[in-house]
Amino acid sequence: MGYYTGSFMSPDGRRGVSWVVPRQFLDRKPIMRRWVFLCAISLGGSAAPAVDAADESLHAAIDRLIDAQAGDAVRAPAADDAEFLRRVMLDLAGRIPTHIETSRFLDDKSSKKRDVLIDSLLAGQDYPRRMQELFHAMLMERRGDHVEWTKFLRHAFAKNLPWDQVARAMLAPDSGDENLRGAAYFLTARLTKEGAMAPVDVPGLTRDVGRLLAGVDLGCAQCHDHVSIDDYKQVDFQGLHMIFENMQSRRGDSFPAVTERVMKKDKEFQSVFTMDPRTTGLRIPGAGDVPIQTFPKGEEYSVAPDRKAKTPGVLKFSPLKELARGLAARGNPLFARNIVNRLWFVMMGRGLVEPLDLFHSANPPTHPELLERLATEFTAHDFDIKWLLGQLARSECYQRSSRLPGEGPLPDATTYAVANQKRLSAEQLFWSTMIATGEISRMKPKPGTGLEQVVAQTESLAALQKQFLKTFANPPREPEVDFAPTVKGALYLMHDEKVLELLKPRTGNLIERLSSMKDTKQAAEALFLAVVSRRPSGSDREAVERLLEKKEGVARAEAIGQLAWALLTSTEFCVNH
């Protein structure tokens, strides 16, 4: 015996109401179940007073809507400059600031410095790398990598291509465009065998397209309508699945590419429950049916394939192009909602809909109006990711402290009254470690050299990078959503010789720099600025002073190494707070 539960805001927007109904009751009455869910959603829709959207920037709208729903929850104050700087650098540059950047920002007296920083980060050289790393982990879920894929993502974010264009490049890859063709890896990486016994998981690809680009996980609706989610029908899965069944990886190219066959007829399928035979044409999440267009034999191509020249030809009716057109479209509500929810999650540490890939009517957003506003404006701004991230970063909601002074319980994460902590990706952790320990500056790179070049050119660092990714990334096919530290990771940072070497004095690195400082106060300040991107508190200083007292030479360097290790392994360093 169990219960269904849900919650919605009361019409005045001041109070949350939760509801619980015995499972048995609703399971016997599917109509009742649907009705209850729909009621809950419709009631959830009006949480805050309406404001004329034209006069209000998106970040202001975010704060208004969040604020309205947070009600009486105690708000944390705005993050101080150090907290904000570290957070926004990790989010938009994928790394912590250097101690120089931190000092400069903290000492900057300009009242506009936060907005200036956001703009400069969005325009900076770290941004395309950070976005490529972020979207790589999000879209490939650690299945592997390909130089062409990296090139595609880098290009997309360097040029700030609209998200619909990026998505279309992945769904209907154009092997003629050198910058975009690598996008096909999104499909081809999912068409490889996982082992001798495991067949190519085409249903897995179907599922991932729904999950990652439309926020709907139709995986369980492959063989029958979803058993617990009314909105997910078998026909939705099958109508999407037939597109990928009709497609395969193209061999013989140095870059990933796919080909399609001529699609001739509707797909036949039946539910394993009812055994009812049915058929469907293409079905695109959020866009519905696309009838299959057939042509007389010999007339299916507008450009015929040429076996000798190995050109695949151009189909008059390309299911992949139909999918790209239908899914990555202005009119498709799922498409915009999915990506704004995912970017909201990246910036705010929680999805408006969670799980990120389970949008359905019985799983309403925590802030329905906000989600709609984000989706609408994002679409109106031509799916401009950079613009959206800038708006999110400018909101008070984003710029709140993750610490709540005073007493009493902390408000719920969905109120955003206190900033949520966020997982650091393996990449963010690696670059931040490099910067904190002074490994990058130790290599004395020429001005303008990116972090990546420095690491790529240094064999030991490249090896370390590989090991970091191996240690801190999730296993393949597991979304990196939750904070999931591992014993493996702890032991690695505790005992790995190469990690420990970072904390020994070497010309130009952090430990050497600090060891040369005679003044303990100065050393404490430099240490905290370098590793945790803030100035030490009184008790931090005391801890440093106590440990370094009367220590000189090797002993002092060792003690500084211990302090740096403790900070590097501290939760403060390991999360984005």
Binding site: M197, G219, L404, F483, P485, V487
Partner: protein, 431 residues
Amino acid sequence: MSHCRPWEHGWSRRRMLGALAAGSAAAGGAGAAGLGGLLQPAVADELARNDKQILLIWLDGGMSQLESWDPKPNTPFGGPFRSIPTTLPGIHVSELMPKLARQMKRLALVRSMKTEDANHSSGVPKIMRGHPRNRGVTYPFFGSAVAKLMGPTASGLPPYVWVKPGNGGFISKHAGFLGARYGALALGDGKPPANLVRPDSITSDADRVRQELRKKFNRQFADRRRGDFNEANSYVYDVAQTLMKHVELFDEKQLKETDRQRYGTHDLGRHALLARRLIEAGVRFVQVTSYGWDTHGDNFNSHASRMPKVDQSISALIEDLFDRGLDERVLVVVMAEFGRTPRINGSVGRDHWPNAWSVAMTGCGIRTGTVVGETLADGTDVKSTPYDIGHMFHTWFSAVGLDSAEAQYMNGTQPLPIAHDDMHKVDELLI
């Protein structure tokens, strides 16, 4: 709302169970979700006092029931081997397991297993998950389920440790919808996790200093912040340090030669001996896997070589658990994803057979000296009431003190039974 209705208590009690496990169970690789604050102290105490442990011996690929627990000598499908009497009057097992035959009074046997899947790739996970009714979610493997539902014991050791040949690591996919943190800490070939041993460059004093500093910084950071991230991050360091304290578990030099000989120096013997020590050290759920049981060819020579090793190591294990009184709180299960066909194929092998096979178990409230169910005289089907793996999950959960008819997981807002809701525990197997 100021007034609770009665059914909300039911709801919240289940939530508590989930919350507790989330707060304390975070498995070897991972951290806690930190909802410990929701926990009622009484519930916490009750579960904290639960010192039950589980040891699963998994014979991957499918051991033949006809060459082990359910021989049918001198029948068309009986194979070449004889059967021998056991310490249970009237019960015979294959001649390939003489030592276990002597331990039979200490075991319970189900000879009427009838499961669904004859494929390894789907059969293994189905059995490991207790094959619950399809609700569109990926259920956890047995070990992950126990890690979630019971958490680590007071030892603080990771709750789900998997001793297996080959590579180790953290196997999060076992956790299913519970989330990566309830996966298995796999000890490849019984070897410790990478980097377990502190390098000489760090003295124990220096280590203590840096760990104290880390804790101090963490305390300061966690003050007036949401605690879950820090709890999770601190937890993995605690587990790492707990494991380090047990580093002797991985030092084969410390083993008694008599033990090594009793268990056998082969993989299964070494791994079963390590399993006993992991159980003694307080790991909640230990799984030992032996691979290569897929005897499609030369089944009888294969079993002639393999079974004596199973006989040796499992009988030694059972002997030790009973001698030490651990049988009172340690559930031992010996099984595979299915048995093997009565039909002997053209390669003198036996193929996959979920239709009528056997599972053995003991300890922790299992009624020993019991044989449940029987197969037809020629072994080609179950003669008595057939039992599916769901029945076993109910039985095993019950043995370790979990009410599988009541307890539920929460997957977001979706409550999920922990074992197949159409099945029940097998009372005959329980004291």
